[in-house]
């Protein structure tokens, strides 16, 4: 029995659950040293991994000259949005007379000024913007579809007796075994026949099918870990199976769904080979577009860097939003609460 400060007696209180380890072998001196070393190592490793991304970010804010300077400039350059302007706009080179005229104008916007410094005039928005939008539409829709379909299939595999269950599961997995490049030509021919070539629908269908194997397998693993008793209790309590699924299973599967969503999104977002073969203009996504920036009048490193950075951002945002669920999700439930 313990005493509070004002002498009032309080009974035994259940302590808050301890969710860190207090085992001797985890808090002893040598364990702490080992942990210190591990933390340092983790930082070093993270540093090594992040250097390219850091360099990418740096380059995107450099002028064309600074981007290719030798030795490379890390801090001693003036940041400019030139790369972004070049990425997002179409420009034409001005001749000497028009250049003079332009320089006299006072109604120029900041991005027109930047273009002018390189002797160029902005003529419109570049394709990149539309293609990034295509990427968002196609990757987003196909990910949502793959996760929803995968969730329903995985739930059925997990909870019901499906005849030939393991064969089906193997078949679903086997669709992932062929490298995509091998099937691009036949799919290209089929898509042309079906009028799916260079359409959003075409790529959405393809990415959904490709991601389904991943989502079914991943989600089945997560759903298997949720005890059946939860739904059974809900059903006895007066809910239908569908209601039980929505109210009991779904909230507990968030972790798995989040992880699966991120994995599918990364695939659909980064996919290059199919996008290159099956689209030309209307439905072309960002990945096949970025290398084409290379081609226009010398290597525009800062524009490429800016394009890659812009391409990274949506995935980073989604991952960041779902991060709370991811840590448990990507380790396949090995870390429990």
């Amino acid at each position: 029995m313990s005493e509070t400060t004002n002498g009032e007696s309080v009974g035994w209180q259940p302590s808050a659950p301890v969710n860190y380890s207090t085992r001797v072998d985890k808090v002893g001196t040598s364990a702490r040293t080992a942990r210190g070393i591990r933390i340092v190592l983790a930082f070093v490793l993270a540093g090594v991994m992040l250097i390219p991304v850091f360099w990418l970010g740096l380059t995107s804010f450099k002028s064309r000259a600074d981007a290719i300077a030798v030795p490379p400039k890390v801090v001693n350059f003036t940041p400019t949005l030139e790369g972004f302007v070049n990425l997002l706009s179409d420009r034409s080179v001005l001749n000497a007379r028009r250049l003079e005229l332009m320089k006299e104008r006072t109604d120029l916007t900041w991005y027109e000024e930047i273009a002018l410094k390189n002797g160029q005039q902005i003529t419109g928005i570049s394709q990149y913007v539309g293609r990034l939008r295509n990427s968002v539409i196609i990757a987003g829709t196909s990910t949502i579809l793959a996760v929803i379909l995968g969730l329903l299939a995985a739930y059925s595999f997990s909870r019901f007796k499906v005849p030939g269950e393991s064969d089906w599961l193997f078949f679903i997995l086997s669709t992932r075994m062929l490298p995509p490049v091998v099937v691009t030509i036949p799919i290209f021919l089929m898509y042309r026949q079906l009028g799916l070539h260079d359409t959003h629908l075409g790529l959405i269908l393809l990415y959904t099918v490709f991601n389904l194997s991943l989502t079914v397998w991943l989600l089945k693993g997560f759903l298997d870990e949720i005890p059946r008793e939860y739904e059974e209790a809900a059903m006895v309590d007066g809910y239908t199976r569908l209601q039980a699924f929505r109210k009991v299973v779904l909230p507990q599967a968030v972790t798995g769904i989040a992880a699966t969503t991120v994995f599918s999104l990364i695939f659909a977002w980064n996919e290059y080979a199919f996008a290159l073969m099956l689209t030309t203009e209307r439905a072309r996504t960002a990945p096949p577009t970025i290398p084409t920036i290379l081609g226009r009048g010398g290597v525009e490193w800062s524009a490429i860097a800016a394009g890659s950075l812009g391409f990274l951002i949506p995935v980073v945002i989604v991952t960041f939003v779902l991060r709370r669920h991811l840590l448990r999700g990507v380790t396949f439930g090995a870390i429990r609460q």
Binding site: A16, E229, E232, A233, M235, D237, T240, K247, V248, Q252
Partner: protein, 362 residues
């Protein structure tokens, strides 16, 4: 509240019976315990009553209505699972309310009923918490609260105390029994703990190998086991079973002992073909006394708090002929010593060694 009737209800998984055709009628307000060793089909029976498992054959009636093919949600029964099925993503209050939501109970009444049941089970202070942080006992209380708040036609409980430690089981056992007496709710309770079954039930259904062995009150099951399985399974240690052969009004037991058959049994036993029977008696049916008619050698001696259980070998060496006899806690019985004892003639039972069934006096 309701009656539950099982008519020839059976369940097969593949070609194997998990429950062989079973008949059982449970009266309104009765507390029936399904008791049996692991894998005998208790849970399966309970799940069939709840509708979570479809029957292979037979019919199930709740309150006279055939519910054999009704969805679990339409049967108006509450199921308490062995593993506490509390939803981790909801607070204790939400967990308890969850079932009322399904029945479109108004929010005001919900609060009222949750309050009532929380008070009854003394969990009012836990309502705002998540179940994850609760102790085993508190979780079990919440699970019970979830079932009670519904006021269903019947309660089905599958080893609800299985995961608790011994001390706490004791308390919860009494609480469940008190709740039952207060609410008078039809209850089917599964356990493999016979002490629990004895303590709580109006009737016990003893199951083994997918079959019902006996249905009876705790007294009947204990004192008048229907067959050898029940005799061995109930009681710890189980009933003593000593095979013997009848000869001129006596039973010839291992070690050459002659047991004088009690008068009320002579008629029945004289009709047994071959004269082979198994004598059965509980440890407390024997009284150690120097003038006893039976004798055996001490094989081992278990000291309990209030009494001792002597293991006596009838033939002096073979462990298979050991019978257990209750004796004075403070007397000294060295191993190998010969002990004489008598059997209370009213507490002696006989079994047919071929069918395993109990013989009945005429």
């Amino acid at each position: 509240m309701a009656t539950i009737e099982l008519r020839q209800v059976a369940k097969k998984f593949g070609d194997v019976y998990a429950v062989k055709p079973l008949d059982l009628t449970i009266a309104d307000g009765e507390f029936v315990v399904l008791l049996g060793p692991s894998g005998c089909g208790k849970t399966t029976t309970l799940r069939m009553i709840s509708g979570l498992e479809a029957t292979t054959s037979g019919r199930i009636l709740i309150d006279g209505k055939d519910v054999t093919w009704k969805h679990p949600s339409e049967r108006d029964i509450a199921f308490v699972f062995q593993l506490f099925a509390l939803y981790p993503h909801m607070s204790v209050r939400q967990n308890i309310e969850f079932t009322l939501e399904a029945q479109n109970v108004s929010p005001a009444e919900r609060t009222q009923r949750v309050g009532d049941v929380a008070k009854l089970l003394e969990i009012e202070h836990l309502l705002a918490q998540r179940p994850g942080g609760l102790s085993g006992g508190d979780r079990q209380r919440v699970t019970l609260a979830r079932a009670l708040v519904r006021r269903p036609a019947a309660f089905l409980m599958d080893e609800p105390l299985g995961a608790l430690d011994a001390d706490f089981r004791h308390t919860m056992r009494a609480e469940i029994k008190r709740l039952h007496l207060a609410q008078h709710a039809t209850t089917v309770y599964v356990t493999h703990d016979q002490i629990e079954a004895m303590a709580m039930s109006d009737r016990i259904v003893v199951m083994s190998a997918a079959e019902v062995q006996q249905v009876g009150t705790p007294h009947e099951v204990y004192h008048d086991p229907a067959n050898l399985f029940v005799a061995r399974f109930i009681g710890s240690p189980g009933m003593n079973l000593a095979p013997g052969k009848m000869a001129d009004g006596h039973l010839l037991l291992a070690g050459g002992h002659r047991y004088l058959i009690p008068a009320q049994w002579r008629g029945t036993l004289s009709q047994v073909a071959g004269g082979e029977v198994i004598l059965g008696f509980r440890p407390e049916a024997a009284t150690v006394s120097d003038g006893g008619s039976l004798a055996a050698e001490v094989y081992a001696n278990d000291l309990h708090g209030a009494y001792a259980v002597l293991h006596l070998s009838l033939d002096g060496e073979n462990p298979e002929t050991v019978v257990h006899v209750r004796a004075d806690r403070f007397a000294h019985y060295p191993i190998g010593q010969s002990v004489r004892f008598d059997l209370n003639p009213d507490m002696v039972r006989f079994f047919d060694p071929n069918s395993g069934r109990a013989l009945r006096t005429q």
